[in-house]
Symmetry: D2
Subunit: 354 residues, 4 copies
């Protein structure tokens, strides 16, 4: 154990894709030591048996409990929750006293703490039982919109992967004035569905196939609404239509957003507006041409472009659901709350031809 590293980390819920991705990214993070990886069901088994691609990087086994004593020896301590929706709120509520006592930051990857309005939360996450007073202590961790608040937080909620892609593509449009309805057509790979076996993610079902799901009913829609309303001068909600589609790849989310603006801008003006909006956001790359999945998969980048015809605007974003959409976003926030440059351990490009 090298205490010369400044951050001790524990991960609760270590077997899923989210945890695997945290572990993968930590292999490249210069300041992080992974102390405890918790799995109730797999305790005692080697991490690298579950996440085979991590052999040579982790010799550890899954354990049942966080080693808070060891965590305390690090300057900064961070507990990540990588648990199913519902379970996360339950575990957070239970662990919080010890987490606070140990001086840990808590970063949750689930949807349990994302929605501020308790009525909407209960509607979309009926399985989540959480006190409003607890939920309100969580900061919504989309760095590009919320950096200063995140820096001051100790409890963070990581945005949904589809929501992140939608919000990042369209946030700069809000102050330009969107007429009528903002259309959000999302395309996502299958890894977003997690490790749980389902017929819809069975390989023969997906090969060469495309399927929309939860049409106008997806949980990320109120999350997008909430974030965009926060950007509106008078906190008004933008009317949305949001449909995600499963495409036959594994990683990556692509969002095509359609809006009519109240005024006409040139493509150049729009690009410049987007560049200004994201000028302090190193992981946002505004591109002249439409982004693609290949330039972001495996990375923490979100590539964005925008084009128009008269008042009609099309904004597009591409990101990796497991990195910028989950684990990378969480680590970006960890960097901020631990006073590191937000790019620490996350500054690497995509594979190119994948």
């Amino acid at each position: 154990m090298q205490k010369n590293k400044s951050i001790g980390v524990a991960i609760v819920g270590g077997t899923g894709y989210g945890a695997g991705e945290l572990l993968r990214l930590f292999t490249q993070h210069p300041e992080t030591e992974v102390i405890s990886v918790i799995s109730a069901s797999m305790a005692g088994q080697k991490i690298s048996e579950q996440h085979k691609y991590l052999s040579s990087f982790y010799k550890q086994k899954f354990v049942k409990e966080i080693d808070f004593e060891l965590l305390k020896q690090y300057k900064n301590r961070v507990v990540f929750l990588a648990l199913p929706h519902g379970t996360s709120a339950e575990v957070a509520t239970k662990l919080l006293p010890r987490i606070k006592e140990c001086g840990c930051f808590l970063i949750d990857l689930s949807g349990d703490f994302r929605l501020n309005n308790s009525q909407i939360r209960k509607q979309f996450y009926p399985e989540v039982v959480v006190e409003d007073s607890l939920q309100q202590q969580f900061t919504y961790g989309l760095t590009e919109l919320n950096k200063e608040q995140i820096k001051e937080s100790t409890l963070l909620s990581t945005p949904g992967c589809l929501a992140s892609a939608c919000i990042l593509a369209t946030a700069p449009l809000i102050d330009l004035g969107i007429e009528n309805t903002l259309i959000l057509d999302a395309k996502t790979g299958t890894s977003g569905g997690g490790k749980t076996l389902k017929e819809i993610f069975h390989h023969p079902t997906r090969h060469g196939n495309l399927t929309p799901y939860k049409i106008l009913e997806h949980r990320h829609e109120p999350e997008i609404s909430q974030a965009l309303a926060g950007l509106s001068p008078n906190k008004t909600e933008t009317k949305l239509m949001f449909v995600p589609h499963i495409i036959p790849t594994s990683r990556g989310i692509y969002v095509t957003a359609y809006a009519s603006l109240q005024k006409t801008l040139s493509k150049r003006e729009l690009i410049t507006h987007f560049e200004n909006f994201y000028k302090d956001s190193p992981f946002i790359r505004i591109r002249e041409e439409a982004p693609e999945l290949q330039t972001v998969v495996g990375t923490n980048f979100c590539d964005i472009s925008v084009t128009c015809r008269g008042t009609q605007v099309v904004a597009m974003s591409a990101l990796d659901n497991l990195v910028k959409g989950t684990a990378g976003q969480a680590i970006q926030n960890m960097n901020l709350i631990c006073n590191l440059p937000e790019t620490t351990g996350l500054w690497f490009p995509a594979l190119g031809p994948t």
Copy 2:
């Protein structure tokens, strides 16, 4: 040669995907004999060397000219043009006298004769040189909208593949009254790009990738406008935004259309409205759940569904770009002009798990 078959067919431009698909489908058509397959560049070579999957089905070679004498021995004669945009108009203009003299029907697969407005045609198809008077003799061959007119025609223009999917998904919405802008988000496999090698269709470029193209600039948008205007009581155009995306599969087009209606209908009412609209269309299957590519790939079916939330409506369609989007559509029309049931030779299901 079995003159007991009633239709003699010639295909001009025999090497591309469109011609290959015509040839594939004719192997299952009980009334068709393929007489001449024309290729300037490959004349003398075996058809099954170019289309390897057709060995055991075609012993013939590509030839330089249509054997009109042989065609004449069939009760019905049909010439298909499967040529690049621009070339098709040129060849059609040249061949037309002989085609008419021989009493042939002409079915064109290109975009050259689709747009009635010559100014728009010149804008979107600058390479096409065609007399307005000739273009106006062509019937737009989308059977589901135009069946009676097709039956009476001798010159047919086959709709664009993306346009077909967009029009079929949204045609029933027109008389319900669409507010503001109709959004058409299309996803297409790579075979729509044809056989010509391009970097954007290079396998390492496409694997796990998604790329939109010709954003708000695609040639099929005016074609969709024209078709939808034709359905409008007062022939008004619907405002459109149309963006096609290349997804990492080979066959299949999926369209997600977003509209706001002037009135509120239930999902049940919408489904019923769609079922009525397509009650005489055997290849349209209105589904309760969202369609998928797997249930249509390889077939002439277009699966459609529609759902809503208040006045917000999402209509979806799925079809095979080479079948219902090109060759199958062309044969469906051939059946009609030759007085056969429109399903002749086209009534087979998809592979299921592909």
Copy 3:
């Protein structure tokens, strides 16, 4: 019900990929009527809800029992078992009296009746309980090796999909004399794994991946041995090494077989030898160049080629695991036992670009 069709069919075990493929192929078979599709678990549900691509083709529901009275009204009656290994032998044993009494043919798709040697059968199929005397009444249904015997049979066992591809690629080599060991490297799509959800067939596990399995331990190896020994003049077994690999596609099996022959033949002589061997086999296409999956997927063809360098020989085969490897093979045999041309309802080409 059109009694003008000559074959009445019942399928026991109607929900899996094998049954779905039988049902798909029967839509194109001119002499077959599907009478009863049995599913214990789904009785009462529509067939087309389970096999969505078959809507417009089957209005029927799954039922609990075969309607033998209705079957009897057909000139020929065939019961297909599309059940899991083990279950099939159990059901066959139970149903056989009624099947015989009704004058039905029985065609089993499982592995339960493939291995003649009871000791080897028990070793590789420990879950199968079957009387030797019953097993010996079944004919091994690989048409290309066994046509005359099949025609005279009433009980048929359908070969394994991987075994079929291996046997067809190498059968012509046996009488040329194989030195040492015959190597069989097989590549298979995921649909061969069936509909049961498994981590190895989860889409994110398979995308861009390749995994061998049951290395030197696969059940199809003794089946291949048995079939090749049957071709040997003195019934000697050929030493084998057989490794199947899962490739990231859904349909198709490709086998590359490596052998050293006792004598040197030219490529031309080998091709001619293969052509002669399969001269009465319409679904075997001997190709000059290496076969590919795209030319066989969806069809009942098995494409084969062979090349050499001195005494070293490489033989390759490609087929669709669900068609020639399962349901198509079963129907080919049904045609023979019902005195129809073996190509009836199976004579169609692949999609080409898929």
Copy 4:
């Protein structure tokens, strides 16, 4: 320019996949500065326009000539040739005086300097014109077999990607004594074919397809022979049969090798033998279970396993053709000749679910 980095690098032939991968990997290498990226055809264009995934990492443009003056300011200087076969020998011959004068190491990625026997080289690389005396100055850069010699070299030839996977899987078998013929069945993604557009790499041709190529005629076979003979006590050649197949993915090579040994070992003994053979090779991971592509794609690892049945042995290897098969291997060697740990800049895991 930070001269505190110890290695200055120039890349000749900057537009292909090999160069792109060098550039990608150098973004993570702590001791390397990329000085000049040469492209005759693209000089003046931004590197990140050609390799879009590298934007944010390279601001530079392609140039026409190596800036040797700048290179000289670095403690170590390395010139990489990432050129087509044939061109590389020509350029190397021309550049060599300046390279030597500048004290640069030269690392070639092409096949031009791999084969020591000039007759075999001329047979398999007829386009390569190279003096034998020059070729013999190049060290064959497969680190795992050749580490000490590489450390002392100034001119390095990078092994072929398929050859690397074959050699690494089977090298430990040589001193166990292979009977008869060693069978090497390779499966490769499409990126191995490079950026040049070809019909065989057109996406619709490859989707769901599998095609073997250059059966028993591939250039990597003599390279494998040469390397394995070098491991044999008496330098005898092992008889080989080598067939590569293109599978429908982009990155990754999988080799299944089949051998009969002169003696019988247990699986445990074989695994231990392999572990000992590679005990100083950090990028070789000997696995109990069969390796998979997903655990190596994007990385410099080669995962290997071996199993047996009596004297029959199956050895398997998996690697990324562009990393361990090309650019990563080249950098691993660069590390060695520059006295860095061989893992420098290359120690990262695969993406897991890809």
